[in-house]
């Protein structure tokens, strides 16, 4: 292709996005667009399946049959999200196997929040309420992102995430209406998950590398700081209803900006966890790798069996 041809393709491509038309897998796209999308969608997919682990940790100990079933269903939904997102990513010309490999070798990242441990039942409430809550704020704008398969996957995912959030909040509500011990359990969970949830919305705008390009491609519609503000403003009144205290002494309503002011985030902790030094980084990755490696003989068996079946069918056809 000549440079002029590429320029014209690029112009058409940019015009399409500006027009709110979707880019589909067969459409021409700049290499950088493809790469950025593989990175973001796979990171999202990895977050869904690594995210199964901290909550999976409580399935066998859920305190009632109803809660056990709801938690199982939730973790299963996350597996489903992983599945749609890997499929969306595969349309960009990369295999699931390769994507897993990137996760297992540490080349690809996943949401850092899952590197914290789930220590009590209340963490199932706090994660649903705060982590799924922050995820929704991150993800609702992606329902209209430029890459078609990603946008469509996000529509399904977001519906289920809001259900998860309500379910998590409902767990918190039960605890807060319960015994003093249960209420303390809820407060302790909020104390531990609050700051990591704020960090989930990404580094501050001044330190964020990808934002400008991502805005143009509609991978992002608001900046990290705007999303964080939205999350805090939405969550503080919910904590009030629960009768819980947000663990930030500097949190204060600011009439002028129409939002809450909040204390400094420990970004040093954030980067430490991103680098792999969080309390559960090693365990989460080990668990994923283990499941994959221990499953190899099973996947091989399924493949060998399918092949034999095919051969049998072909023989019959002759």
């Amino acid at each position: 292709m000549s440079e002029a041809e590429i320029k014209s393709l690029e112009a058409q491509f940019e015009a399409k996005i500006a027009n709110d038309e979707k880019i589909e897998p067969k459409d021409w796209m700049p290499e950088k667009y493809r790469k950025t999308h593989i990175r973001q969608i796979s990171q999202h997919a990895h977050s869904e399946i690594v995210g199964m682990l901290p909550e999976g940790n409580w399935i066998t100990r859920a305190p009632s049959l109803r809660r056990k079933a709801a938690l199982l269903a939730k973790v299963q939904d996350e597996a489903g999200h992983g599945l749609y997102l890997y499929s969306a990513c595969e349309t960009l010309g990369i295999s699931r196997e390769e994507l897993y490999n990137q996760l297992h070798t540490g080349a690809a990242k996943y949401s850092s929040i899952f590197n914290y441990p789930t220590l009590t039942w209340a963490d199932m409430g706090a994660i649903g309420w705060l982590v799924d809550g922050a995820a929704i704020i991150n993800q609702v704008p992606l329902c209209s992102t430029s890459y078609g398969p990603y946008a469509r996957a996000m529509v399904r995912v977001c519906k289920e995430e809001s259900f998860h959030q309500r379910q998590g909040y409902e767990i918190m509500l039960s605890l807060c209406n319960g015994t003093e011990e249960q209420k303390q359990m809820a407060q302790d969970a909020l104390n531990r998950w609050w700051w990591p949830s704020l960090m989930m919305l990404g580094p501050e705008d001044k330190d964020s590398v990808h934002t400008e390009q991502s805005m143009k491609w509609k991978l992002k519609r608001k900046t990290n700081d705007e999303l964080r503000q939205q999350f805090i403003d939405q969550t503080v009144p919910q904590a009030d209803i629960l009768g819980l205290t947000i663990p930030d002494p500097e949190l204060k309503w600011n009439e002028e900006k129409g939002g809450y002011d909040f204390g400094p985030i420990d970004w040093d902790e954030f980067w430490q966890v991103v680098k792999g030094h969080g309390p559960m980084n090693k365990k989460r990755l080990d668990d994923r790798r283990n499941a994959w490696e221990k499953g190899k003989w099973v996947r091989d068996a399924a493949m060998a069996y399918a092949q034999k079946q095919n051969e049998r069918k072909n023989k019959q056809a002759i």
Binding site: R61, K68, L175, V298, A302
Partner: protein, 266 residues
């Protein structure tokens, strides 16, 4: 399907009948509970996303069944005890689950073989239960049969894949089948409460279906190129409250919250 006969409305006025019915129902539902618990351990650790999701699905279906059965039990008991009291607050000896469902998730072949041995039984059981003289049980059987058929297809298909897949998978599947085979016969064990319920037309007489069960299982094993184990004895006990050494750990984990925070709502 038509019931053999309708239950006499006075049937449950007898204390003895009531206790037999409760024991009988526990013998059914405790299997669902313990198997659901075992499968729940696997969520997030499957060999791939698709079987991970499918196994969680089975666990969810079984949990749904447990809840319906326990709710029915608490209704019969009429003493204000809830499904959770029944699930979480009994002593080990009071559970009626067979040894098969307590066996650990040693590897995927064990998970599948355990499931298959149970599913074939469960589908036959629910099919027969649709003719129960008890209206609630007929409804529960009707509701469960579709799921049970799906479970049996899932585990049967996987057993074929493992048996007739690679050499490694064949050996692993054979080992799992051999090790779990001794627990299959307990599914057909009839205790006093079972007999009473069979006589009342509430429970199907599963012993009559035992031969058909082994025929079905053996056919699939053969199709999966696996050998049918020959064992001179079977293991039993769980159904009468004499469990495996695994059971205490299963319960310790499952009951942890209810035991640590008694009288709390969740």
């Amino acid at each position: 399907m038509k019931p053999i006969r309708e239950l006499n409305p006075q049937f449950l006025e007898s204390k003895e009948n009531k206790q037999h019915l409760i024991d009988y129902l526990l013998g059914v539902a405790d299997n669902y509970l313990i198997l659901a618990q075992r499968l729940g351990e696997l969520c997030g650790h499957g060999p791939n996303l698709e079987p991970d999701i499918a196994i969680t699905n089975i666990s969810l279906d079984l949990l749904g069944q447990v809840r319906s059965f326990y709710q029915y039990i608490s209704q019969i008991k009429g003493d204000g005890s809830t499904e959770d009291d029944i699930a979480f607050l009994r002593k080990e000896r009071e559970y009626r689950s067979v040894l098969l469902v307590q066996q650990p998730n040693t590897d995927f072949a064990y998970v599948i073989a355990r499931q298959f041995f149970f599913d074939v039984f469960n589908k036959m059981f629910l099919n027969a239960l649709q003719q129960s003289a008890d209206e609630t049980l007929r409804a529960l059987a009707f509701k469960g049969i579709k799921e049970a058929s799906y479970h049996e297809r899932f585990s049967g298909d996987w057993l074929k894949r493992l048996g007739d897949g690679t050499e490694e998978s064949h050996d692993k599947a054979q080992k799992a089948v051999n090790d779990l085979w001794v627990f299959t016969d307990e599914l057909f064990q009839v205790n006093e409460s079972d007999s009473a319920m069979i006589d009342a037309g509430v429970a199907p007489d599963m012993l009559q279906l035992r031969e058909y069960y082994y025929e079905k299982v053996e056919n699939l094993l053969t199709e999966a190129t696996l050998e049918v184990p020959e064992v001179p004895y079977f293991q039993k006990g769980g159904k009468n409250g004499l469990h495996s050494e695994y059971m205490g750990y299963i319960l310790a984990e499952m009951q942890y919250m209810q035991r640590t925070y008694p009288n709390s709502k969740w």
